[in-house]
Symmetry: C2
DNA sequence: ACTACATTCAATTTATTGATTGAATGTTTG
DNA sequence: CAAACATTCAATCAATAAATTGAATGTAGT
């Protein structure tokens, strides 16, 4: 019982603060965003993020200390991937808060159940049962190259970058479920935010195309 | 189409980073924690957190810029209260991540549904229906003074500060639902973390005693 | 074993952030 | 309206964090 008396609260909050501070730099968020889309080597990440290699490396190690990423060596390169734990949740909460924040269009926020639904995304199981009873629009936001190689049956493809200018292709008042490459892929998270900002009903598929395929579910391929 | 080209990603991530960085300092988390328990004046917050008034004021304004707190004037003092938006969610995600992080006792993490349940807390409605079918232990973690003035029927009272050393009073393998003063009150969040760390099954009631009472539900009062 | 290459480390400089002090603002009370 | 008080502002100094550079480590290929 020797430590902890003057600040009284300390350790717990210090740890939380460190984690939060790790996310408190745009470069690290950008790096994390790229890593979320799949394993990447340092040099590639540096390039994608517009950083020098050394600088990227340092930020990456910062992220690693906080557990947001993990590494493995592959030949002469070191590959970074997402860490364990409820990271996606944390990032989603952060995004969600930010959205509510500078959206003075507070509309119908609050309501914690609605809230949870908005955020959490649907599971594959939930999606399947919904598709039986309701009409659901499946939106694949991956690049076209990936889409043509296989996608969920009936899905329409609007790559994330084109989404904003092709919003009119999507129907209002219908549940839209967006997906991309997997649970950590944030393309669909972004998409959902964008769609909602435009008054559409959108949710995210927690899993991505690879998981769908891995479950042995039917896959559609665009004939070439 | 003029902005956004050199760093390519910028604005969105910069905003997120600012929000995260605001939570990236132990003093601010401590302040937020106190504010979460009810409106407080600056001087009081400074005292509670062990900060100089001026310093506290600055941190508070930092929090306010990010929307985490709001203020109103009451006579010569300025009272701080929680801001709008899904703040509780964000903080819970942060705590949850931290827990998973330095809990090398990873046990049975992952599993996003389980996960969600662990985090989100039960609604009053959910609690009521559970109480009909299962046995649930209600745990009131507010100070005794508040408890005796009214609490949920059948709840047991272990104030947050005493929780760690009175863990043995709680039954294992039974769902424990902890509550305190309201959705922003973090006493119960802390309690849930502590209980789980000790192998108990605990969840948090999203609402608190005031909300329960406001719904017109039965309240028990300790006879004096 | 030598060379090329990817990444990390260590050291330095620069930029940001936090703490402290004293003055300024705005409010109540007599 | 003057005095007392709570809070905020502004300026300064101290501490931390970020970027840059060049060297060190570790792996692959010849």
């Amino acid at each position: 019982m020797s430590p902890a008396s003057p600040p009284s609260h300390p350790q717990r909050f210090i740890e939380l603060a460190e984690i939060a501070r790790t996310l408190g730099h745009a470069h690290r968020l950008v790096l994390l965003d790229h890593i979320a889309q799949g394993e990447r080597a340092v040099e590639r990440l540096a390039e994608l993020s517009g950083l020098s290699v050394a600088n990227a490396s340092q930020h990456l190690q910062h992220l690693r200390r906080a557990g947001f990423v993990q590494t493995r060596r592959d030949g002469k390169r070191v590959l970074y991937r997402m860490g364990a734990g409820p990271i996606a949740n944390l990032l989603a909460s952060l995004r969600d808060y930010a959205e509510h924040q500078h959206a003075e269009i507070k509309e119908f926020v609050a309501d914690s159940i609605h809230q949870r639904e908005r955020l959490e995304g649907v599971s594959i199981k939930e999606l399947l049962s919904r598709m039986e009873t309701e009409s659901v629009v499946l939106l694949d936001v991956r690049p076209e190259e990936e889409f043509v190689l296989g996608h969920l049956p009936g899905a329409i493809n609007i790559p994330a970058e084109e989404l904003e200018r092709r919003l009119s292709e999507l129907p209002p008042n219908v549940d839209i479920v967006a997906y991309c490459r997997g649970p950590y892929c944030v393309l669909s998270t972004h998409a959902v935010v964008a769609l909602r900002a435009n008054g559409l009903q959108a949710r995210r598929l927690s899993a991505g195309f690879p998981e769908w395929k891995a479950e042995g579910l039917r896959v559609e391929i665009t004939p070439s």
